[in-house]
């Protein structure tokens, strides 16, 4: 499962290298929702070239879902999602702070501090064993978590780094002790993580480590793969996909060739996010919308939708009557059991 060697890192460039090609606009969900170039990575880069401050760019900075679709399409190799995370950090540190309400920041700060003082989360896991970081959503669904564990055969890691992910989302500085405690505990393990943003950062923080998204890990399993059929629409978790694009685009291309399923990709082979939560939506301050899920389904008529991300499952169930399954549930689809009872490997 971890046979692929990560490609050599390429030096990212900053906003000043933006030549305005607009390739990032084509794949940007916040642009799609508004059709306004200010709400795109290019808009943010160009505005900074004209001297705009983080405070002046607050609306698009907060509207970005950090799906990372802009990163692999940039011909100038600009770390666009890194640029936006940097802007979000500046915004959060500005006075007065913007979107994250003080109460949220306070709670997060307490979480980070508490976790900083906690013992390392290794437990009984031996140092070289692959570990699973399922994230809070999957932990909340014990049945599905058990199915995931059975399929990937990995030990649960106690610390999901959920506070670290939230800090990254909000642009909050992560205390040194907390970050290093978390990374030290993970060092040496092969890692399967459900959160794409965390995986993206782990690629930088633990450059020699072996990492894989939960969706990719599950879809390597014969029990899952053999149940994917050409009438399925397979919805990729975009953050992990874009964070390791060159490797993942090849992986999912092979998945598509072998199973015949459709992928949630656009013509540029970018994973179209099924949900595009702005900061305010993530914090529950603003109602969410289903623009992306509807766009993904436009002109497609799949018999089933297979998702890697639990939030995507909820979004599709809101907008269509098509059966929606988490990739780990594939083997539990009653229709599939009826038609292919031998498929559980």
């Amino acid at each position: 499962m971890f046979g692929l060697t990560p490609p050599a890192p390429v030096m990212p460039r900053d906003f000043s290298a933006c030549s305005g090609c607009s390739l990032c606009v084509l794949v940007c969900p916040m642009w799609r929702a508004r059709r306004d170039p200010r709400f795109s990575a290019e808009g943010l880069a160009k505005a900074q070239q004209c001297g705009a401050t983080a405070a002046e760019l607050a609306a698009p900075i907060e509207a970005c879902s950090l799906c990372g679709a802009c990163d692999p399409v940039c011909p100038e190799r600009i770390d666009l999602s890194g640029m936006i995370m940097g802007l979000r950090q500046r915004l959060t540190n500005s006075v007065p702070p913007r979107t994250p309400p003080p109460a949220v920041l306070g709670d997060l700060s307490a979480m980070l501090q508490k976790a900083s003082g906690a013992p390392a989360a290794e437990g009984a896991v031996s140092r070289a064993a692959p570990v699973l970081l399922p994230g809070p959503d999957l932990r909340a669904d014990a049945e599905l978590l058990a199915r995931v564990q059975a399929l990937v055969g990995l030990v649960l890691f106690d610390d999901d780094g959920a506070d670290i992910v939230l800090a990254l989302e909000l642009g909050v500085e992560i205390p040194h002790a907390r970050l290093h405690g978390f990374l030290d505990a993970l060092r040496g393990h092969s890692i399967v993580a459900a959160d794409g943003l965390l995986l993206r950062q782990l690629r930088r923080w633990l450059p020699g480590s072996q990492r894989m998204s939960l969706g990719a890990a599950l879809s390597t399993r014969a029990a899952v793969r053999s149940n994917l059929v050409p009438s399925d629409l397979y919805v990729i978790e975009p953050r992990a996909f874009h964070g390791d694009y060159e490797r993942m685009v090849g992986y999912y291309d092979r998945l598509q060739r072998e199973t015949g399923c459709s992928l949630s990709q656009d013509l540029q082979r970018i994973a179209i996010p099924a949900t595009s939560s702005e900061l305010g939506q993530k914090l529950g301050l603003v109602a969410g919308d289903d623009v992306q899920a509807k766009w993904l389904l436009q002109g497609r008529k799949p018999a089933r939708i297979i998702v890697e991300n639990l939030a995507d499952r909820a979004a599709f169930r809101r907008v269509c009557e098509i059966p929606v399954l988490h990739v780990a549930e594939l083997g539990e689809d009653p229709e599939m059991i009826k038609s292919r009872p031998h498929a559980f490997g």
């Binding site: 090609c21 390739l23 200010r38 705009a52 060739r257 002109g299 497609r300």
Partner: protein
């Protein structure tokens, strides 16, 4: 002249300065006069920034009609330059297009207050045509929805600010495709219809503008008009290939076709002349569905041919392949090895060719775009490759368009200019099938005057590769290419903006005066896309 300056001078003073009094907010009698370049050193010639007279009153009037206008560096900074990256200018304010009615309200107010409006789609101009030097920038990408796909009649109705990528995305989900579009997905449909649009199937299907069946246009005075070859035909003729002078295209009905992947085949030449002769032979015989030439300087000349069906490719193999004088990849590599072995002093050139091959070739063979030896989504493949391997902060792409007969001479002369100005460059040559019933569309456009059946175009693109050149160097290069065109009676794709000094030299006074008169009638305050042509 700044507002009010003419009123500060006496008539004698004005006469002595040889400055004609110009009403504030208007342009002079003819900004592209035949003496426009006389006595002027050949430098980049940006238009003067609009003086801003009456801006506040205009903004108030516009906002009173409910049109949202954004001001300030955050809103305007995105539009500071175009793909060319040599013309820089900022608008006073930006309007994101949302509907034809909103665009009409904007243009009516702009006529009343004499405020220039620059229309921008993908911003892929190279001569500053979509850069606003003051006034309003109207961003059409806000109108980018597909309105209706008729899979039976094979037409699509779309808002014109849509990127070709967006259109392709929606058509593909229905198993359909557009006919031809620029090999750059961030071009907008409206912008392309206004200038031409060349694809590698243009030798067979014509330019993108020829695919338009009808348009919704907002005229410079704010009327919303539907036009086609049979309805308001004169407006249709002027708007298609009209460089945005006669209206804003807000919706378009285009012909489409079933989607097919294509089988792409490459032949390599070391002679431009031979490759062009073979290209023209294939085009004349309708031997392939796609054809074009892409070069690494004049050393490695790649003739690409492609096919929508196995039957077409089989016919090509049977009838035409043996007649081509190009090599396969391996044969050409051997040929080049021998060539440079005898010319060791040109080792630098050989190494450049090798490096370029290693960088570029894999991009056209990415496995996620290939199935059973056929390429899917060719425009995505080409567009990404173009930006990655040809794009940069400066894109300078002068071109020449000629008749079939004169094309080789034009390319060879242009190639000599490239060699003189830049160490590395690319040529891109393609045929353009002309439609006899569209002759009126082609008047004063990139289609060379008098050519009937098929024209040929060549783009001359220097590889900047991180080097720094002055804008005057670029401008001198473009002038040297365009001088060839004047000498040969050719035309150009990019004759607006900074290159408009060539307009009268290329088209002649009579034709330009005719269009200027039409422009004045259609756009009394001369506000729409000012300084692009007029």
């Amino acid at each position: 002249m700044p507002a009010g300056v003419s009123s500060l001078l006496t008539s004698d003073q004005v006469s002595a300065l040889k400055i004609l009094p110009v009403e504030p907010g208007t342009v002079g009698p003819c900004p592209v006069a035949s003496d426009a370049l006389q006595g002027i050193k050949r430098q980049q010639t940006n238009p003067a920034r609009w003086n801003g007279a009456g801006w506040e009153a205009f903004v108030a009037a516009l906002r009173a009609t409910g049109v949202e206008l954004a001001e300030g560096p955050v809103a305007c900074g995105v539009y500071a330059t175009d793909a060319g990256g040599t013309a820089y200018g900022l608008p006073h304010g930006v309007v994101i297009a949302h509907s034809a009615a909103q665009v009409a309200a904007l243009l009516k107010a702009a006529q009343t207050h004499r405020v220039p409006v620059t229309v921008r789609g993908g911003g892929l101009t190279t001569e500053g045509e979509s850069v606003a030097f003051g006034g309003v920038l109207l961003d059409m990408t806000g109108m980018s929805r597909v309105l209706n796909i008729d899979a039976t009649g094979l037409t699509v109705r779309t808002e014109a600010g849509i990127f070709w990528h967006g259109l392709a995305e929606e058509l593909r989900r229905e198993g359909l495709d557009y006919l031809s579009a620029p090999l750059n997905l961030t071009s907008s449909v409206g912008g392309t219809l206004g200038v031409g649009g060349i694809d590698v199937n243009s030798a067979r299907l014509g330019c993108s503008a020829d695919q338009a069946i009808s348009l919704q246009v907002v005229t410079p005075t704010g009327e919303i008009v539907e036009c086609s070859d049979s309805e308001n035909a004169e407006l249709f003729q002027r708007v298609i290939l009209g460089y945005g002078q006669f209206g804003v295209i807000t919706e378009a009905t285009l012909r489409i076709r079933p989607y097919t992947p294509l089988a792409m085949r490459y032949f390599y030449y070391s002679s431009l002349r031979t490759a062009i002769e073979d290209l023209q032979m294939l085009d004349a015989a309708d031997a392939s569905d796609y054809s074009g030439i892409l070069t690494i300087m004049d050393c490695a000349v790649n003739l690409l041919v492609a096919f929508d069906s196995d039957e077409r490719e089989a016919a090509f193999r049977k009838n035409w392949k043996s007649k081509l004088r190009g090599y396969g990849e391996f044969g050409f590599a051997l040929c080049m090895a021998g060539h440079y072995a005898l010319r060791p002093w040109r080792i630098g050139e050989a190494l450049y060719l090798l490096r370029r091959k290693r960088e570029v070739f894999p991009e056209f063979r990415r496995p996620e775009y290939m199935r059973n030896g056929k390429m899917h989504d060719r425009t995505v493949v080409y567009s990404r490759a173009v930006w990655k391997h040809w794009g940069s902060r400066n894109m300078v792409i002068p071109d020449l368009a000629t008749s079939t007969e004169r094309f080789i001479e034009a390319v060879e002369r242009g190639n000599a200019v490239c060699r003189r100005f830049f160490p590395h460059y690319t040529l891109y040559c393609v045929g353009i099938k002309l439609r006899p019933e569209h002759q009126a569309h082609y008047e004063m456009s990139c289609v060379p005057p008098g050519v009937q059946d098929r024209a040929y175009g060549c783009e001359f693109e220097p590889m900047i590769e991180g080097a720094v050149y002055s804008r005057d160097h670029f401008q001198s290069f473009k002038n040297a290419i365009y001088d060839i065109g004047v000498d040969m009676g050719a035309s150009y794709y990019r004759f607006g903006g900074m290159m408009k000094g060539y307009i009268r030299r290329v088209f002649g006074d009579a034709l330009v005066d005719k269009h200027l008169a039409m422009k004045r009638q259609a756009d009394p305050a001369m506000i729409l896309n000012r300084d692009v042509i007029f």
